[in-house]
Symmetry: C2
Subunit: 343 residues, 2 copies
DNA sequence: TTGTATGCGTTATCAA
DNA sequence: TTGATAACGCATACAA
């Protein structure tokens, strides 16, 4: 960082070599941490690099190593719904955290349609991207399978819909939902409704499954009228809630909402109807990030350590890029209840 | 796209040249649309390219042209608050729309601290990035000035705090806010409150200014008790609203909220307090995107064509990258009221 | 442990 | 209008 004023900045490896009195090869070795360099040579090179502020040319390096040092963040979701989701914010933080420390670039790619899917594959095949991080893919998203078939380095931010030889991280949504509903039951609630997620996504399916499991386990009936469906957005949560309130004879005394954002929508509707939380209705949600904290009243939630998951996911991908033979891994995070006051 | 099965894929310019029976130079010229190529040569090359599925190597090209074909999306905001803002989603859509059509990569960079700021500058200086798109910078964000000082290609998503020789797009927030308040006045409201934005951001300042202007123009007093401040997040909107309701003797009969997300927070508080919109309180907000559509009840808003602005912004940057001598431009979009039902 | 020489795939210069 | 040829900056096989 410190470099004397009269030292001209070195722009190439060769300039560093000359200044340090060694060959280009030696400089290259030092930069790439080759062990086959003498202490004295290494020190000399390191010093001149520091003094001259030299930084390697990425393109030149890529040309010979066939590595770009950049990975794609592929948002494979129709019309960027993901973006306004706090879940996404956490993912980005986790990913950039890992990536920026290793001087790797994160390339943002929106892949909504067929054409965009092909583009992603081309990018990987052409070596513009070393690997791909896939965010929030729907059941019918063909991208994960395409990536596996072409053996391109990739990792998913959630369990793939059908079994696939691809690494991913996820939370145990079944257990999480069951945990939420159990808490409501143990709090004395008997008419427990749920605002469920989309049933073409594992996260949506699993949370509904967990809800059902918990009810069965406590010998409570599953009333279809108490189940509404949303697509993880705030407004869809509100709609589902309205539907539940309209359909039922009695309003529910407990509510499990399958996502953060939907919880906000559902809470707004409850407030509108004059239903107090948790006096009238106990609510437990899923916690993607801070939205749950903003909920009014504060919401008891099943916590998802999204940022940490994203870090793990990124490291997994980088491993795989470095060593294509590394095994496929699946990391399932256990659920944890964060009790605030509601529910 | 169509290419016969027995045609081996061409990976280099040279392979294409051989297959087409011309020299590398000619192939290069065709690819770069040089006019100095005969029709016959051009056709031959184009055909073989299509047949072999050849695509140029980005790194090799970058090495000689000094252009990476990628621009940075710099999110210079503490702790990615921007991410959960629908404003950001629209920006990303607009930017990717332009960028993907030109086969330019979008590199996502979170620049929260000093260190990250330097990194952005380094990236640009080192030529890893051809230019930078800056999102939502605060008053004390030094990045815009740093970019200008080093003459690095950049564009801002909003008017810079202090005058700077840098291109940007923005909406006329003063006029927009005035438009909103005027509508409330003309609807017969007299005690008009505002949930204002942060006063260290132009968007926050201007909207408060517009609010004041409109009140003055209609000879209504500005009551400090009717002004609350948020930071553009949903929860801060709720807090500001609570503060206003707590402070005042009478509740307001009109409300102007300086942002989309804050409006949702404010509406939730009104609902909680049993204040009906628009019966008790007329509300007009600012429309960053879809959040306003999700507002319950539907909100009359001052519309910001964020996606289009982002497209313009991107094109501006690309122009500047192509021709560094191109003039600095500022595009201010006029406000437009989208009447839904409230207000 | 070090240095020399070659090649990565393009674009650009120059001569033909 | 075309083609040889020389960079671009780096990593690496090989020789020393």
């Amino acid at each position: 960082m410190v470099r004397s004023v009269d030292t001209p900045r070195a722009h190439t490896l060769e300039e560093v070599a000359v200044a340090a009195g060694v060959s280009k090869s030696t400089v290259s070795r030092v930069i790439n941490n080759s062990p086959a360099v003498s202490r004295t040579a290494r020190d000399a090179v390191r010093q001149t690099i520091a003094r001259t502020g030299y930084r390697p040319n990425r393109a030149a390096r890529t040309l010979v190593t066939r590595r770009t040092g950049s990975v794609g963040l592929i948002v494979s979701e129709p019309e960027g719904r993901v973006f306004s989701d706090p879940f996404f914010a956490s993912v980005v933080r986790g990913v950039t955290d890992v990536v920026s420390q290793q001087d790797i670039q994160l390339v943002l790619v929106l892949a909504n349609d067929e054409r965009a899917h092909r583009q992603v594959l081309d990018y990987l095949r052409d070596g513009h991207l070393d690997g791909a991080l896939l965010i929030s893919s729907h059941a019918r998203d063909p991208l994960p399978r395409m990536l596996v078939e072409e053996a391109l380095p990739a990792a998913l931010s959630a369990r793939p819909v059908s079994p696939l030889a691809i690494s991913y991280v996820d939370v145990d949504s079944v257990a999480g939902a069951a945990l939420a509903v159990t808490r409501l039951v143990e709090g004395g609630r008997r008419r427990i409704a749920t605002v469920a997620g989309p049933q073409d996504m594992p996260a949506g399916q699993d949370r509904l499954t967990g809800y059902r499991q918990a009810l069965h386990r406590h010998e409570l009936a599953v009333d279809p009228a108490l189940v509404g469906y949303g697509n993880f957005t705030r407004s869809s949560g509100a709609q589902a809630m309205e539907q539940i309130l309209a359909a039922g004879t009695d309003p529910p005394d407990g509510l499990f909402v399958a996502s953060d954002l939907m919880a906000l929508g559902a809470l707004a509707v409850l407030a509108e109807r004059g239903l107090r939380v948790p006096r009238d209705v106990g609510v437990v949600g899923f916690d993607d990030s801070t939205a749950a904290l903003e909920a009014r009243p504060p919401l008891t939630t099943v916590h998802q350590p999204v940022e940490q998951m994203a870090r793990t996911l990124t490291l997994t991908l980088l491993d795989r890029i470095a060593d294509p033979g590394s095994p496929v891994t699946a990391r399932i995070y256990p659920p944890r209840l964060v009790v605030r006051e509601s529910g």
